[in-house]
Symmetry: C2
Subunit: 677 residues, 2 copies
Amino acid sequence: MSHIKNLIPRTVNPDIQKERSAASFDVQEFAAWWQGGLAKLNTKREIERVLFDDQEDGYGLKHEYMSHEEVYNCMVKNLCEAAPKLKALQQRLNPGGSDIWPACLTNVQATGLFPGNHPLATHITMFVDVIKGQGTPEQVDKWAKAAENCNIIGTYAQTELAHGTNVRGIETRADYDVKTDEFVLNTPSLEAYKWWPGGLGHTANHAMVVAQLYINGQHKGIQMFIVPLRDAETHMPLPGVDIGEIGKKLGMHAVNQGFLGLKNVRIPRTNMLMKYTKVERDGSFTESPASRVNYLTMVYTRCLIVNLNATLLLEAATIATRYSAVRRQSPIELNAPEPQIIDHVTQRLKLFPEIANGMAYHMAAEYMWEQYDQTVLEANNGKFDRLPDMHILSCALKVLASTDGCAGIERLRLSTGGHGYHIAANMSNIYGNAVAAITYEGENTVLLLQIGRALVKAWANYKQGQPLSASYAYLASSMQLREFPKWDNSWQCILKALQFTAAHKTRIAFENLSERMAKGQSQAVAANNTGIELTRAAELHGRQFVCQTFMEQITGAKAKKRSQALNAVLENVLELFLVQTVLNNMSDVLRFINLTEVDLRSLQKRLELSLEQLRPNAVAICDGFDFHDKVLNSVLGCYDGNVYPRLFEAAKRSTMNQKPVQKSFETYLKPLMKSSL
Amino acid sequence: MSHIKNLIPRTVNPDIQKERSAASFDVQEFAAWWQGGLAKLNTKREIERVLFDDQEDGYGLKHEYMSHEEVYNCMVKNLCEAAPKLKALQQRLNPGGSDIWPACLTNVQATGLFPGNHPLATHITMFVDVIKGQGTPEQVDKWAKAAENCNIIGTYAQTELAHGTNVRGIETRADYDVKTDEFVLNTPSLEAYKWWPGGLGHTANHAMVVAQLYINGQHKGIQMFIVPLRDAETHMPLPGVDIGEIGKKLGMHAVNQGFLGLKNVRIPRTNMLMKYTKVERDGSFTESPASRVNYLTMVYTRCLIVNLNATLLLEAATIATRYSAVRRQSPIELNAPEPQIIDHVTQRLKLFPEIANGMAYHMAAEYMWEQYDQTVLEANNGKFDRLPDMHILSCALKVLASTDGCAGIERLRLSTGGHGYHIAANMSNIYGNAVAAITYEGENTVLLLQIGRALVKAWANYKQGQPLSASYAYLASSMQLREFPKWDNSWQCILKALQFTAAHKTRIAFENLSERMAKGQSQAVAANNTGIELTRAAELHGRQFVCQTFMEQITGAKAKKRSQALNAVLENVLELFLVQTVLNNMSDVLRFINLTEVDLRSLQKRLELSLEQLRPNAVAICDGFDFHDKVLNSVLGCYDGNVYPRLFEAAKRSTMNQKPVQKSFETYLKPLMKSSL
């Protein structure tokens, strides 16, 4: 590295500075609005100051060159060092709350703190929550507090090697031994090994084991058992516990997902969670109806996933947009200077739709959180009306935010060309951490089929003249139209068109299902055979919902709290989002709505115009998401835009560049070169 | 691992055995046809026997746990050990040929031999070829033979840190010094560092440096220079040569891509390639017109990329299909046994279309190779008519095969659920190696724009009554129709519909471009503003071509050489491919062709039916691709279908499982757990 000294300039790249100066709105106002108010923005920045200010340079890149084992040990170190800091910050800024500790272990700051992820997320989000939700008061008292203080570390062990989606099929069993007042846990086969729980490999010393309960050889359904796994002092696996990590994955390198086999492992009867189900000393078994509150937990988890995926998508969009403002390539006019690549129209089409997608999913999640709070209030008064709709909508949102989010992240990575293929761009790491969400918490296709079945059920109700709940109301209003009204180019018209299309897709799925049943197929077989149409109807159900909520959040009463300048930018994003959504679904829309050539050309023009209008504000919008440089962790996406010096510095950090000649030269390469093959 | 012994059964999983027994065709016939004849199949199997039989278990997984540096050194070892074996095999099976050495360093066997890829591909494919193509006879004699024997190892250094697509913008310069009869090479800035050449980091000791030539301060265009980089004995970088690897990437871990800065590096005048351009001793400069044969090289390279991407897609399809035959989950009828997941219709939709895509791109490449051979023959007689069409079609194929191929690989990975997220599935490694093709050898969007501009040019010719060359003939025949004829459900009808749609998309792009120029925009600015429509027209141009060639290859004269049983299966795949292609492009098709509700329902039925018909043959078709287990390198895709034991064995191989307790426990985790946070 002899020729280049003092790599990173202390100045901001003028191309990106120019973008900021030309923005039509106040970035601070955007940032405060985006974080839910100025106070929240300030708290966020204070947290990041405490967490990131003393991080050494290259912190986020270092782990990419570590061995699998080193990444794990390093992330545990980061975790154990961050924990007391976060706890102290919580005490200082919001005593008694949980918005800093443990929240920062799973939110946007975590992606900066733990670029290789970490093994405590399952402990924090699942182990503690399940005890609180399903344990008796004595169990909560005994276990939950110890877990919250990290005196014990747990995981949630449900999935097995051969069973994920179909929980009923799991094979791990717990037999009650009335003589000793214990459960005896066993893994009957290789396929029944627990597989995937986060932190199970080498971190957790307890697991919440989900198993088939047997009393006197009689099956009593699936129950949950707290099983100690490792010695509290030595951390060695306890007798009968076969434990380890499942191996490396494409992302989440330090999550330490593990496997678990149990052989005659005995635990006290009181280690079974017994809030709703009880096993008495004499082996008698009682079950109270499962609480509908469980549904709320699922809604809650899925909203978190939507937030996470929208955030990761917007991180990628910020990286790619900043890079596109700095990178200059390929003159538009022959012999003219090379433009910023953000001025190539096809590049805008790769960037701005993802900004719009990320914002739309974020706003949809905001709406869901408001609904969620309302539903919790009502549930406390025994009112559960909203729950089924909420459940289905949260499934649809989870599916779309994860599928679109991941496809978007990869499109954005590709938009940065070769440099996006380098790990220092951090795009591949973001993708690796995001894409797991397509599979976990309900695999997306499985969820779409569930939504599709709910849709045809709602449709059947509608056909029988029964009233529809709020989220299905558009089925009725769409079908009451003989045909779709004249296209008037309004946002409302686009929304109605998507609803009309979604309604007709549900109709077709219903008709195909009915036709198959009329030919003698059972409902289940017919539903499988109609799977493609069911999932497509489900997707459109979700899309019309996202369009509707995004529109309401931008154009509704809340707009009055924002400046005109900010609203103008948000409306630009909304316009882009609605136009791209209807264009991307045109294969279905055109089946039911007779758009003219003039209408279609006008939509294409609107797409091009909204991209052009967003152009001068794109960098500033990304600034408004207020991602800390350490969170983005990307040489292409730094606030200062010094892309090339940072790429070069990242290369210097490669472990291979610490030696001019690699050891394989003398041993293998030189002999080959001398051998004249 | 106390409970489980003798992990991998010696028997084939009965679920996958059942699939093989039920196939309606002879897999051996398929395999021989697929390889281009029985002799080629036998050669392929002999190569694989020699290469893979003595590989230890876990060979393909081991590199995933190595450090970045170890992966490199290990792949160099593999390379240097394989080279004499391959050379000997070449001598034995086909003396004087190149189909084994060096071909096996870049073809399907290489993915098994080098799971982390290797640093010699650029040497083999680019360095040697460029010398042969652009060097004088003396230069070829001096350098090409030494390079072919690996006495010297080279790379091709064109791309710079700030310039990839726009080669004219590169800044590395070579000044002729008439006093010493030398060129003096310099890297004028950080941005001008060479960046990306394979093997440049620590492997190559020569580079073909692409630089701006100056003679007496006068610019003489871009030329190529052979520059020694490292000492032949010590491998240490030579004076003035700043060299290293660029760092880790998301795939191609052992390709050892490097950077290169040059400071007053002097080389003899005769190190500039001078077949077409000459610099004399006195500095006089002559240029003969660049050979159109260069275009043929580009066509050749792009056909290779299409083959590679089709192969990688079919590897992924084989893995996912075999897994889907073994995995059982989620009863279709409540309380029925769990079916093989391949029996869920939505799963079939994830698998079979990718088999069809992979086969279609493979067949399109076959067609291109035939055309290529013909064109080479004609070119030798000074006839270059086919070249422009070939060039554009090869661009389109490269774009579609890489874009669809990578999206397909990822869809297939996701179809295997959580287990596909594990690196032992090898899906992420396949993706990482495949996806670079979207960016290299012409970034896909840049190529689409190039195709789009060729299309509107052809369109303008058509409008002026000039004749169209063969690959654009459908523009004329489509436009001569007032409207699309009645839909008759034939394959020909689907092809004509895609051509009709592609023609009208070209028309619209042309109209939008003309409209903008009429409003005063220059052609270049108007083309940029019409970028979205141009790329879409380009994509459809490619799609109709793939449909056409696939149809010709399956239903044409060659069908007579195959058995009826094999043809029936191939026609099933073709039906699926055509139906899915027209359905996936329905947003454009419906704009120009008035398909009725009956037509659309019939297409949907055909999609579902073709998936159902393919179901019993899916595993056997994948067997027919004849991928060696070591090439697939996947616990989910092994021929024997013993998925769960292999997953478990892969977990055992994780470096972290060699110790029951990780070192961070005593140092960090235990203090945290005892501290009562």
